[in-house]
């Protein structure tokens, strides 16, 4: 029970630094695309955004092993006992890949790592999606339908994340041009378009996080 409480606490803290931190990211992003701010100010804002965004990036990855720990505590996880270190190792490797991909995003190596990160996310969407639907249909591998529904939410959240990544691609080069050549109508339009297109994915992601939280709190029997 004691350990379960600690994992629940960490689980909630991860939600804090995911959903709560996202608010700052979102607000600052909207300020960055305002042409009335100086390029220097916007570069500073991008630094602020990059720092805050590091938190959701990290905790979203480690949410998975923490969730498995909690599920195991409830006797609902297919991964248990001596196997529990496996998701942690996998998450650490994934985090290392995602972190270096982001840190070196302008280099060819960084682009390669970003592709690998994307492949991991796609594989997880597929795997987690199949496992959760299998649970609805045949009662396994997860021990309860509400848990399978949370896992499905997580898979959908990963899809939103992939959507954000793909639609945001033009932002980086456009921002580089803003810094090099100053503000032009095309650059401003590209920046604004990138942020505008990300919005539906971000809102869907937040909504799904709320739904996942609600399922976790109520753990409905169905």
């Amino acid at each position: 029970m004691e350990m379960q409480g600690i994992w629940a606490f960490i689980h909630v803290m991860f939600l804090v630094y995911w959903l709560g931190a996202d608010l700052g990211v979102f607000y600052v992003a909207y300020q960055i695309i305002k042409p009335e701010h100086s390029p220097e100010a916007r570069a500073t804002l991008l630094k602020v955004l990059g720092f805050i965004d590091g938190f959701p990036r990290a905790v979203s990855i480690f949410m998975l092993p923490v969730g498995i720990q909690l599920a195991d505590g409830l006797g609902l996880s297919p991964v248990s006992g001596g196997m529990l270190w496996l998701p942690w190792i996998a998450a650490l490797i994934w985090f290392a890949i995602a972190y270096s991909a982001n840190a070196r995003r302008t280099t060819p190596r960084g682009k390669q790592l970003a592709k690998l990160d994307l492949a991991i996310r796609a594989a997880l969407v597929l795997g987690l999606g199949v496992f959760s639907i299998a649970t609805f249909v045949s009662g396994g591998p997860f021990g309860a339908n509400w848990l399978a529904l949370k896992v499905l939410c997580f898979a959908l959240i990963l899809i939103c994340g992939i959507g954000i990544r793909l639609t945001f691609i033009p932002f980086g080069p456009a921002f580089g041009r803003l810094m090099a050549e100053g503000s032009t109508p095309e650059v401003e339009a590209t920046l604004k378009r990138a942020v505008d297109r990300v919005v539906p994915f971000v809102l869907a992601l937040w909504f799904l996080l709320g739904v996942a939280a609600l399922i976790g709190i109520s753990q409905p029997d169905f």
């Binding site: 409480g5 909630v12 630094y17 709560g20 608010l23 220097e40 804002l45 602020v48 805050i52 109520s218």
Partner: protein
Amino acid sequence: MSAFDYWHTIWILVHVLLFVYWLGGDLGVFYGSRFRNSNAQDVPTRQLIGKITGAVDMAPRTTLVLMMPVGLTLAADLDLSPVTGWWLGLVWIASLAWLWLVWRVHLEASPERKKRLAGFDMRLRWLVLVVLTVSALSTFISGEPFGENWLAVKVLLYAAMIGCGIMIRITIKPYGAAFQSLVDNGSTPETEATIQAVAKVSRRWVKTIWALLLVAAWFGIAQPNI
């Protein structure tokens, strides 16, 4: 799921989300302030960052106020609080009025009116702090008004956080004038020194709030029998 379970679950979700936007929102404010206070940035950038951190800071400011009626609603659901029915409705109305005041202070353009409203808000915070502290301590001693000590601990922690917020408001008094002088006369060693000194002390209070919030979250999750 019964109607009670349904509503109770929704209130827990709201409670957790308030925590999320309080502590999570603070992250952006905390990190952004570093750039606002740093003379490595030009003054317009610092002004802009000041405006942005001020806006994001409304998340923790709003959630702090709403945490009280939401917490008391949850406590009433669990039969742990005497504030129920119409009394609870009254707490809600008072809290929403307080929230309105907090936003008025934030949005008010006239400095004199802002000062007056902020003064009223400050007195209100002292009142809430005293009432909640007394009721928490009374619970430890006599088992009234709250039905569980862990809840009284949470109430006491909340009062302490309000106390930290009051300390931040007292600490940052010289900040406004220093920042205005920065805007009017540019950076001087004296203004930068004032800004740095104020920021250092208020960061300490902010970190104290974070620590108290974590402890409060822990008590809410574990609800230990003490």
